[in-house]
């Protein structure tokens, strides 16, 4: 069953056409990699799938929510079911790890609720956060300042935030951009494992073709805002994608 549906979507920013007539469906629990050269529209596609931007034309639906008639409340509700992992992880460096993780539930809280979560999270919430962090291998860092953690540990904290959010879809924008080759495999293993274990739909934008082929059954290739292939690409298609 398709939970993310893109129909003839185009997106332009001023005179720049970032996406052109993109059409694709992503089913629940599917693991998809989006690959392509820098500036090909990967981030724009992920932002659209996360309902961050309205498309310039075409139809977009996520988790049963049709973006052609968006209501503020409905939009927030559906966003609370989608986890975004930006390139820089989007963590607040001078907050404790637990505080960053509880922020995953902002979509289900109002302003006062968020302040309460930050300052006085309940015992139940704290224990839930600890379990998730422990599962991610950083339980011991729960009360440390986030900027005192290593890059890899911070990446796990950001993933814990989306797990705490209870996201049904995880959209990760170039999660390997600042990761060394040895750790890149660990990160993808962790994401793919969580996706399989918890039935989370995973969409990841990547530059590393070999890793995309190894970990993802479906690969979408983007070139100059257009979908060049969708599935398991051949070597020739990959060469065309990067103009090799």
């Amino acid at each position: 069953m398709s939970i993310l549906s893109v129909r003839d979507v185009s997106q332009n920013f001023g005179a720049t056409l970032a996406l052109s007539d993109v059409a694709l469906d992503i089913s629940a629990g599917e693991q998809v990699a989006v690959i392509g050269a820098s500036g090909c529209g990967k981030t724009t596609l992920l932002r659209l799938l996360g309902l961050q931007n309205l498309p310039s034309s075409g139809q977009l639906a996520a988790l049963g929510f049709d973006l052609s008639s968006p209501s503020r409340k409905g939009l927030r509700e559906v966003r609370s079911r989608i986890g975004m992992l930006p390139q820089d992880l989007g963590l607040v460096p001078n907050l404790r790890v637990v505080q960053n993780v509880v922020l995953g539930r902002s979509g289900k809280r109002n302003v006062l609720g968020t302040v309460r979560d930050l300052l006085w999270p309940s015992r139940v919430e704290r224990e839930k956060v600890f379990k998730i962090l422990d599962r991610m291998g950083v339980g011991g860092k729960m009360y440390d300042r986030t900027d005192s953690l290593s890059g890899g540990q911070q990446q796990r904290v950001a993933l814990a935030r989306t797990l705490y959010q209870g996201a049904e879809v995880l959209l990760a924008d170039e999660p390997l951009s600042s990761v060394d080759p040895a750790r890149a495999r660990d990160v993808l293993e962790l994401m793919a494992g969580l996706s399989a274990e918890q039935g989370i739909t995973l969409v990841v934008s990547l530059h590393q073709v070999a890793l995309a082929r190894e970990f993802f059954p479906r690969i979408i290739g983007l070139k100059k805002g257009k979908v060049l292939f969708d599935g398991k690409p051949t070597d020739e298609e990959i060469s065309t994608l990067y103009d090799l």
Binding site: E77, I82, D88, G140
Partner: protein, 591 residues
């Protein structure tokens, strides 16, 4: 048209000579027959023999001892600064929040937010552009209560400054964490509260502490218009020639400011770094929580600040003096009548609209000529003098600072500059400490105090005021510029040392060009403040806007004072806009 930073430096040189032509070259002016050197020597000999007892032989026997009076004055100075800062910080936070764009939604409602933002920005600009001394003159005349008026006079411009800086700090924060909150269904306001505010908080606390330091200096300066702070002690002792007392008070003030600066530095460092705990594996959630790293220093400091602020409000002389019923409202009404431009003022109650309309219809045709007269003389001349003094002062300060900082930069002024072994001599390190000490001392004394002392020694001309502004600003520019150079990447300047060059070559050929843009940014930031200070320094008897303000204060001509104040405010706002423009252009250039 923007011609670049080289032309900017050349233009500043030309402007300095124009200022010199305007202000003249009579650096010292004394009445015939006086012996300025004798009083100067006597004044500076007080520096090595500060007095711990009263120098005034005619004081009654039961008078409080000098040190006890000085202690009381210092406590009052700190109290007013504390109250003002504790009022200005929440005010600045609230207004800064309205000016910041970080919490705005991304849809069409932004137009509505712009409608809120601009009136707030204009109000902030007005609050900042009027000096606290002038606010104090207005408030003392209107309300009469010295403590309340003094605190309000300090709080108002400080709120404007804090709001501006707070909003800039919020706007400069990384927006990605906020994006994660909105992506997860949170609102812009939630994103602001949970991400932008905590990220900006260490810088905001740091800046608030710096403003407290400034409030302390400004509170002292209020003594020069009669408010009982340490400035009043200095004023009285200097005028009576008790220079030993003057120096004791100066040392006490400088020490207090330096201590506050040191405390602020420690708090800033603790907030920025945070404590790291290493052994944490195998612990349960509750054990981890108990063992969580907590900074006792910051916590104790927080409690102390809250207690001290509470004490400032509740202990000591009442902030508001009790008055007979109706006396206060009558006083305010009289002040507002005097504040109304003379041709359209009405002696009857301000709330009597018929009387006001009548006064307006009678005097409206004389209103513009009244303005034109004030502008023609002395407004125009005072305005140009104020501008010339501020420009000359900041250029002198910049020249001094640029010459001194190579000796004060921590990364250069040691045995191993930029990490390369150079010599075994400890002289560079000693020089570095001396230069940085000089910067600390010069910025610890407020401009007005320098000006007061220098006018007493050099006679009433523009140059003591220029020198006073320059002295204070050389300390601030020295500190800011030194930090800029210390934060530069070391690879390029160390190349010069690696091929046999010296420290000074490394500074001139690499560090200075790398830092020049940031230098110019800070230069204009300080020039804005020089314009504001130059406006009031004239109150010491030199022909700038402040001079005419102090004259009219004697005659209680508040409408004229308002005119000069608005002229000064206009100059500050123009300086602010020019400085914003140049900063914007310089940010676009590679440093």
């Amino acid at each position: 048209m923007w011609l670049g930073r080289r032309w900017l430096v050349v233009a500043l040189g030309v402007v300095f000579f124009l200022c010199l032509a305007r202000l003249g070259t009579n650096f010292v002016t004394h009445t015939p027959g006086s012996d300025p050197w004798a009083s100067t020597i006597r004044f500076f000999s007080g520096a090595i023999s500060p007095s711990l007892v009263d120098q005034n032989p005619s004081l009654p026997a039961d008078a409080d001892p000098f040190l006890s009076r000085l202690g009381d004055d210092l406590l009052r100075t700190i109290r007013y600064a504390l109250i003002a800062t504790s009022l200005a910080v929440p005010g600045g936070l609230l207004l800064g929040f309205f000016v910041s764009e970080q919490w705005w939604p991304r849809n069409g409602a932004r137009v509505l937010f712009q409608l809120i933002r601009w009136p707030v920005r204009i109000s902030l600009s007005l609050m900042r552009s009027v000096h606290e001394l002038i606010w104090a003159i207005f408030f003392l005349s209107a309300f009469g209560d010295a403590p309340f008026s003094a605190c309000l006079a300090l709080a108002l411009p400080f709120t404007g400054t804090l709001a501006k800086v707070f909003s800039e700090l919020m706007d400069e924060q990384n927006r990605s964490p906020r994006g994660v909150i909105t992506a997860a269904g949170g609102s812009g306001a939630q994103g602001f509260v949970a991400t932008i505010f905590p990220m900006a908080l260490p810088d905001m606390v740091s800046y608030a502490l710096y403003r407290f330091e400034c409030a302390l200096r400004s509170s002292a300066v209020l003594g020069f218009i009669g408010v009982e702070t340490i400035g009043l002690s200095i004023n009285r002792s200097f005028e009576n020639g008790f220079y030993g007392e003057v120096w004791t008070a100066l040392y006490v003030l400088i020490t207090t400011v330096i201590l506050i600066e040191g405390l602020g530095h420690m708090i800033r460092q603790r907030m920025m770094s945070g404590k790291v705990r290493t052994r944490s594996s195998g612990l349960s959630e509750s054990e981890l929580r108990k063992a969580a790293p907590r900074d006792l220093f910051l916590r104790v400091n927080g409690v102390i600040w809250v207690v001290v602020i509470f004490m400032a409000f509740s202990i000591g002389e009442p902030l508001v003096t009790p008055m007979v019923e109706g006396q206060r409202s009558e006083r305010i009404s009289r002040f507002l009548t005097k504040l109304t431009p003379d041709p359209i003022a009405s002696e009857k109650s301000l709330l009597n609209w018929d009387a006001r309309k009548e006064a307006w219809s009678d005097g409206s045709d004389q209103f513009v000529p009244w303005l034109a007269d004030l502008w023609e003389y002395p407004g125009q001349e005072a305005l140009i003098n104020t501008l010339a003094m501020s420009v000359a002062a900041i250029i002198v300060a910049a020249c001094l600072a640029i010459l001194l900082i190579p000796w004060g930069i921590r990364t250069l002024a040691n045995r191993n500059p930029l990490g390369l072994a150079m010599s075994r001599s400890s002289l560079p390190g000693v020089m570095g400490s001396l230069v940085r000490g000089f910067f600390v001392l010069t910025r610890a004394v407020p401009e007005y105090l320098y000006a007061f002392l220098l006018v007493g020694l050099m006679g009433p001309s523009a140059w003591p005021l220029v020198l006073a502004l320059a002295l204070h600003n050389v300390g601030i520019l020295g500190r800011l510029w030194t930090e800029v150079v210390e934060n530069q990447r070391r690879t390029i300047p160390s190349t010069i040392l690696e091929v046999g060059g010296g420290r000074f070559q490394s500074y001139v050929a690499a560090l200075l060009p790398m830092s020049l843009n940031r230098f110019i940014l800070f230069f204009f930031y300080r020039w804005e403040s020089c314009v504001r200070e130059a406006t009031v320094l004239g109150m010491l008897g030199v022909s700038s806007l402040g001079y005419y303000i102090s004259i009219q204060q004697n005659f209680r001509e508040y409408d004229d004072i308002l005119f000069y104040t608005l002229l000064g405010a206009g100059l500050v706002v123009a300086g602010d806009l020019l400085s914003d423009f140049l900063r914007h252009r310089l940010r676009g250039e590679n440093s």
